[in-house]
């Protein structure tokens, strides 16, 4: 995130020096696009707020360390699809879970679903791509996470 603002600013300055008209067009198009998608983003935030109320981030570790078997994997995949945990929290948490005896394959399933599948971001995805694409892509993400998890389990000899 730290380099997003400098990058946008530098490119904006270069663009303005090259062509003022085009730059103004770019900015107004950026603002328009942002405002158009904002309701969907607000829906996403509202959903995330509700999910976090039901599954607080602090409780994710407890939920994932309860079952270290197939059931645990399924729970991890579902929790990973629903909650939003940034990487800088998810990976330290995963390291703690490993020490607690949670197998690698559950961690792999959880972190992959966390990144690839977004139940809360579906409103945004549907607005952009339509229902069918959004839903099939998320299902595919879930299957990818499951396959990754199974192969990780085989490689680490956890089955």
């Amino acid at each position: 995130m730290q380099y997003l603002y400098p990058a946008a600013l530098i490119l904006l300055i270069i663009s303005a020096l090259a062509n003022k008209k085009k730059t103004i067009k770019a900015l107004s198009s950026a603002a328009k696009k942002f405002l158009n998608i904002l309701p969907s983003f607000l829906t996403m935030i509202a959903l995330l707020g509700i999910f976090t109320l039901i599954i607080p981030i602090e409780s994710v570790g407890d939920i994932l360390s309860q079952h270290t078997n197939w059931l645990g994997l399924l729970i991890a995949l579902f929790v990973g699809s629903i909650v939003f945990v940034p990487g800088f929290i998810a990976y330290p948490l995963s390291a703690v879970l490993l020490q607690k005896g949670v197998p690698y394959y559950i961690i792999a399933g959880f972190t992959t679903c966390l990144m690839l599948v977004g139940f809360a971001s579906l409103p945004v995805e549907i607005t952009y791509f339509g229902k069918k694409i959004a839903i099939t892509r998320n299902i595919a993400g879930f299957i990818i996470a499951l396959i990754i998890s199974l192969i990780v389990g085989i490689i680490y000899r956890e089955f």
Partner: protein
């Protein structure tokens, strides 16, 4: 889509945010916790999204559609996948940042399967995240995950494109 589901994106935030305001006024504890959660997400989002949309705006006006169509369009080559992986690794944030970017690529004529691949790679192959993962879970874990994830994302992008074959033109409402 029916009118009701189409308007859900207005009803849900209005309802939830209204509930938050009501909870703060009446000191309803679960509602206040909800408000705090939402405030945190809102802050992050409003901080992260403006530069993303500025970059999208610049991309829109400066990159000709023909360039994107030539390299990422219907008849793209194998190198398109590699460029896409390289581009994706630099993306920050989560799906909510990748989605507007993916849509901008799609809008410029990027082939559907490459859009799916971008969404996949940008969420599971990001460089900052990779370092985090490797330092906490070990390089072996990260390597294995990459080696499995990249072919899977490519495979599923092709499958997803086949499934969603019919209406694959961007929604003009968002352009």
């Amino acid at each position: 889509m029916s009118k009701f589901t189409k308007n859900l994106k207005y009803y849900i935030p209005v309802l939830v945010f209204g509930f938050c305001v009501g909870s703060i006024i009446t000191n309803f504890i679960p509602g206040i916790i909800l408000s705090k959660n939402i405030w945190e997400y809102l802050k992050n989002l409003l901080l992260l999204l403006p530069p993303v949309f500025i970059l999208i705006g610049l991309f829109e006006v400066w990159i000709p559609q023909s360039t994107i169509e030539k390299h990422f369009g219907e008849s793209h080559g194998i190198s398109a996948w590699l460029w896409l992986i390289l581009l994706s690794t630099t993306i920050v944030g989560g799906l909510y940042v990748s989605l507007p970017l993916a849509y901008a690529l799609w809008n410029k004529g990027t082939r559907m399967r490459l859009v799916f691949a971008f969404l996949g790679f940008s969420t599971i192959c990001r460089i900052p995240m990779t370092f985090f993962e490797a330092s906490f879970l070990g390089i072996k874990f990260t390597l294995i995950r990459y080696l499995i994830a990249i072919p899977l994302v490519i495979l599923f992008s092709v499958i997803l494109e086949k499934i969603n074959r019919k209406p694959i033109t961007p929604n003009p409402q968002n352009t």
